[in-house]
Symmetry: C2
Subunit: 198 residues, 2 copies
């Protein structure tokens, strides 16, 4: 089973090493990890680099059986948008999508922190952040389109029992995610909440 390893990891200065660590962990659980190494893409003649990376990632997703997404919040309250794109792309292509985060804070808390204000109940019954936009209050770890794509196949976001010391590089929840893929738990009634790694 081939797993496309989506996430902002490719933006790390040590992305190559991180990719190898993730691939070794995949092998430990019997998987092949496909890691989209932006910084090693070499465009074919006539292709610009961004286009070559895009097409390379799309090809790699087609080659994969499932997506494992690093949903650790990135430059804002939510997951990296490139990762969100890939979850949508993979889900639409019929791949199972799995996900994990290295930071625990819930969606509502993250948005309150980002918008520096508390949430207020609107006349329509939704909660509104200080930026004037509603916040989804479904007990999900991120925007519902992301999390429901996982839940459609019975998978939940793996959340650590405490924040990782180095959230950009910690492998605890990633490995827990792989462990669950390799040995799915007997599913009880579909839980709607994120689940702890421990």
């Amino acid at each position: 089973m081939k797993l496309y390893l989506a996430g902002p990891d490719v933006f790390l200065p040590d992305a190559t090493a991180i990719g190898k660590i993730k691939q070794r962990l995949c092998a430990k659980y019997g998987f092949v990890g496909l890691f989209p190494l932006d910084n090693e893409a070499r465009p074919a003649p006539g292709l610009l680099l961004a286009q070559a990376i895009f097409r390379g990632n799309i090809r790699m997703m087609h080659d994969a059986d499932a997506i494992v997404a690093n949903l650790t919040p990135f430059r804002g309250a939510s997951a990296d948008v490139g990762t969100a794109f890939e979850i949508g792309y993979g889900f639409s292509s019929g791949k199972k999508v799995f996900g994990y985060t290295n930071l625990r804070a819930g969606y509502l808390d993250r948005i309150q922190q980002l918008t520096s204000g508390s949430l207020n109940l609107g006349p329509d019954g939704r909660k509104y952040a200080a930026d004037g936009f509603a916040v989804e209050d479904f007990g999900l770890f991120d925007n519902l389109m992301i999390v429901e794509a996982l839940l459609e196949h019975g998978s939940e976001v793996v959340v650590p029992s405490k924040d990782a010391t180095d959230p950009a590089r910690d492998m605890t929840t990633f490995e827990e995610c792989l462990r669950r893929i390799s040995a799915p738990a007997m599913a009880p009634a579909r839980s709607r909440r994120t689940s702890s790694a421990t």
Copy 2:
């Protein structure tokens, strides 16, 4: 031609009114606008609300011929992640994807502002933000997965000539986007840059 209107507009307190304005503009250019009104979703028995919204949006995207995405940065440096998911989903389903923004600032500037620091050149030749992660420097408006999905079909992000006074509600670039869909310009050599609305 049916257009799925993706964007964080659904989180506005006046989302219903905004949806109707967008749909009227679509009709003006001969299109049918499909607006995913989160706050009007009513789950079928046995479905939870988030799941009902997710499935409703997926169904609506299948019904659409193309996606028009509001890429105005949302709660961070990039587009709304739900919108990014939908761009990936739509692109994977073979739909053309179009996009616009109501704020002009480029990707690098937005990330510098968000991370409160300047960019530094890394030993790998990439630019790094103060958060320790590289920044894609391809002259694209957002993460390359988002923008290249548009460019694959020859479409560029429509950027306003100046910031909208009310970026959450302004319709200038949205309408310009519709105008371009209805009357595609004779394409010169594929430009790699965002293009101005005026």
